[in-house]
Amino acid sequence: MISSFFQNITVFLKGEFIKKKKSGFYWIAAILGLLFPVSIFISNVIEPTVFKPSVDFNIYEMFFTESARAIAFFSLTISIIHNSSKIAQLDHKSGGWQLMELLPLQKSSIYFGKFLILISSSALLIITYIFSGLLFTYSYFLFNDLPANAITEIPWSFIGKAFLKIILASWFLTAIQYTLSVLISSYIWSLSIGFLAFIISSILEYNGKFHPSNPFQVLSHTGQNIQGGDLDNYIIYTEYFSLFAGTVILIFGFLWYKNKGFIRAFWKSNYYRIRSIIGMLLILLLSISYLAPKKQFEHNRTIIMGDITSDLPISMAYLIHPTIKDTVAKIEVSNGQFKHIFKDSLPLSNYILIFQNYGSAKVVMGTNDSIVASVKFQNGRFDYKIKGNRIAENNFKSKIDEWPYVKYQIKEGFDLHQYQNLQNDLLNIAQNDLKNIKEYRSKDNLTYRDDLKEIIEKEIILDNLLYKEMLSKKVGALYPEKRINWNIGWEELENRLSLNDLQMLDKEKYLEYLELRILKNDTSELAGDIKLLQAFQKLPKGEFKDKIMYSKLSTLLENSNTNSERDELYKYSKNITSQKFRNNLKFLHQNLQKLGRGKLAFNFSASDLQNKNVRLSDLKGKWIIINFYQSWSELSSNENSYFENIAFKYQKNKIAFVSLSTDQNKSKWVTEAKNKSKKVLQWYANNSKQVNFNYQITSIPRFVMIDPEGKIYQSKMARPSEASFEMILRKALDLRDLE
């Protein structure tokens, strides 16, 4: 029976190819497939693409990744709507549907055969897109420079997967539009319905309203995720759903067509009715439960692990708290692998995973989470992917992106005399935002767990409370005699966000809010920072107090310029219970003091371009500015050119400019440094570890200024790209200020 079906369908397809002559059926698909590759090529020729350095990338893969959404959501959609209507119309117009019934053709061959032809036209469109894309990308790079880290091999396996993904995603829309076109004999109607639905979906898409049951958005979703999902899966849930829903609709349409009417197919007797209702309920239930966003489960341990592909010698990774800057875990990296199991509980937070000073990744995790990070360093570029059981949380960007007018009014200080209305409006917005927290779905239909939802709610409250404080402050300054009558709802919001919430400590805004609240009722004449420290001092002993004091103190220490100031601040560290924090502060304090103005600068040794040994002390008698840099860093190379220009400008003055490389690879440094300006001394640190430690180099580029006696003048100088760099320099050299 199956072989006879295939025989029958083959005969049908042969006939169909005679029939669709001159209908422009495949031409439209091919032209739509060419549309974007051609226009992208033309626009690239007119205005060549500027490639930013990045990790290795395949030029073809990049082209397909960037254009897939336009193809799937626009070209393919139009082709499907047009061709579905056309293929049905060919026979509606001439009574062909009846003619086919008077031929030895099985109805299944007719119905599914035509559908296959439709799919084949979509396939033709995608193939045209792929091959023209390959050709145009290739041609483009014949005449334009290929970026250094570009891979030019044709990624066949990626292309094959992309092809399959798009076909799967188109299945649903094709089935709907085809069924509609067969059932509605009017060409204009089926075409209009299709395009109207497309326009509505485009509007939804534009407004960020995504639902996986919308066949147009299924296509768009595939176009946006042509690389696959977050779980090493190249087929994503919308594509599986498209296959399922499309097939269900196809079978529904077939039964309708075969039985010549809805009633005969589904409703003619009680048996049929019950069968139809149960079938429909089952399909609905399956779809709803499949499309409902899923939450990932807890793991039985708390683990962070991963692998690193890198051309840099990375031996350590640190998981640190984003605001407190406290190291939560110190992880050894060996053979490009790392793994850390937490013994204690870990509050759910946005942590930062730092790989020495090469780069950092944001990681959301908490107790009983297992996080796997794939990290790539190449050509000074950093790329990472977080997997594990917090996929949604790590991909979700919490953003309070709507900007209601009332916030604008408060921020800009407009209409402040209507403060009563303003506070009322703001409260309404806060309450509304809380009610309408957007549903989030990752590529793979994962959503965050309730613990993150709680944090999201608190973030919304926090944002609005900040505006409330801002309003209160501004109104207080403008109308000192007036008092705002705060609505009762504010109290509830304030109660929901306590002033010692450990979980919120990773948000800068929370710290800001705390400071606002603390300083609000303090009328003493002290400096703001001291007021805060004194307020924190009064907090009950515990983790919260430790963390917030540690955070505040370390920032203040790092930002203060004189040793006496730092000594004064350091006194507050005795209020911290945690030995670890206290040690850290002590260590930081000591190191910073070493770099205070007038302290002797660490006299390191280095090699110059002639491979001669040199020391910092060789330059005694001159002012010195040292540029600590590494050749892979893009930021460094930007600053280098400013640095060189300034060196050229002051070449007659008693000042030496040193670019000190702390690279691991000396030969790489030699080739690069040889091309640089001779006005800057190109040195290579013999012991970069020692140098980094003594100058507290935690990030590059860093500029340190040393006086003619070899003492520190500025340990954290502005960058050459900033105007103050030259001002500091001129002041030290006793030169007139620039006009």
Binding site: F12, G15, I18, L102, P104, N259
Partner: protein, 300 residues
């Protein structure tokens, strides 16, 4: 042996107005069966049921001694059908239309020219069908229906829209394939006169019921009397004379008299009798043939 056999078929789109009432039909193998009735009498519905276009849920229709519903769609390897207006692909040429059918029916493309020759469309084969005349379209549709030498040909109103020569050619064509290939032809029409001459069997349908079914001979035997209408001018005497002397006479008015006679040969004698009595004859009409009877039963 019947090519088509329908027993007690009822059909309706809704319960209130039945289209076919207890319909029985037997089309002998090798016959040319004229299925005659007015528009709306149920011809097309019957045709569609025979062709399986309407579902035969209660298994009342047999084709080649088996229920049609059990044989779809492969039965169409043995049937050729042209139902209602010709279904042709207007954007294709006549030849391409036949190529399409030949492909589906797995018929050699060599046969296309033969069949085009048969329906006299060989010269027009490259022309697009949308430029064909109505008659050409009709002939092409018939060519499409019989390209595979079917055992049974179902033709719904095939001579609709044909000019007189076309009608004659069509009759000849049907006779030819019936005689040469033994094809059973089931042909429907609302005009009895046009197919009477070709048919071996006739079925007459009116308001969903079969009024007559049999061979042409049987039909002629049943309705072999003639009704002669004579236009004249009568007075009391002549009227009385007619009523007294001619048995089958019916005086319809002063100007019109009708006579029933058995055979044509009796007409001259009737005229002779009337002229002898000085009854004027202004005109004479033969009022009753198959056609008249057909109109009578179908018009009621």
């Amino acid at each position: 042996m019947f090519s088509i056999e329908i027993t007690n078929l009822n059909f309706s789109y809704n319960v209130k107005s039945p289209i076919l009432k207890n319909l029985n039909l037997q089309v002998p193998k090798g016959s040319i069966y004229g299925f005659i009735g007015h528009n709306g009498a149920g011809k097309s519905t019957t045709m569609r049921l025979i062709a399986g276009l309407y579902p035969d849920d209660f298994k009342k229709v047999k084709v080649f001694d088996k229920y049609i519903s059990d044989q779809l769609p492969n039965i169409f390897n043995r049937i050729g059908a042209l139902i209602e207006s010709p279904t042709l692909y207007q954007h294709l040429s006549g030849e391409d239309n036949l190529k399409y059918i030949a492909t589906i029916r797995k018929v050699d493309f060599d046969k296309i020219d033969d069949i085009l020759n048969t329906v006299d469309l060989l010269q027009a084969k490259k022309k697009l069908v949308k430029n064909y005349s109505l008659g050409m379209k009709q002939r092409l549709a018939i060519a499409m229906a019989m390209i595979h030498d079917p055992e049974l040909l179902l033709l719904d109103e095939p001579i609709n829209g044909l000019d007189p020569t076309g009608i004659i050619e069509m009759r000849e064509l049907l006779l030819k394939i019936n005689q040469e290939k033994g094809t059973t032809i089931f042909i429907s029409s609302h005009l009895l006169g046009e197919i009477e001459k070709t048919c071996t069997h006739v079925g007459i349908i009116a308001r969903g019921e079969i009024k007559f079914e049999g061979t042409i001979k049987e039909l002629e035997n049943t309705f072999s009397t003639f009704l002669i209408e004579i236009e004249t001018n009568l007075n009391v005497d002549t009227s009385n004379w007619i009523l007294n002397n001619i048995q089958s006479a019916q005086i319809l008015s002063k100007q019109l008299v009708a006579f029933s006679i058995i055979q044509k040969e009796d007409i001259p004698q009737l005229i002779k009798k009337l002229t002898e009595q000085n009854i004027p004859i202004y005109s004479l009409k033969n009022k009753r043939g198959l056609e008249e009877w057909f109109l009578e039963i179908t018009n009621n």
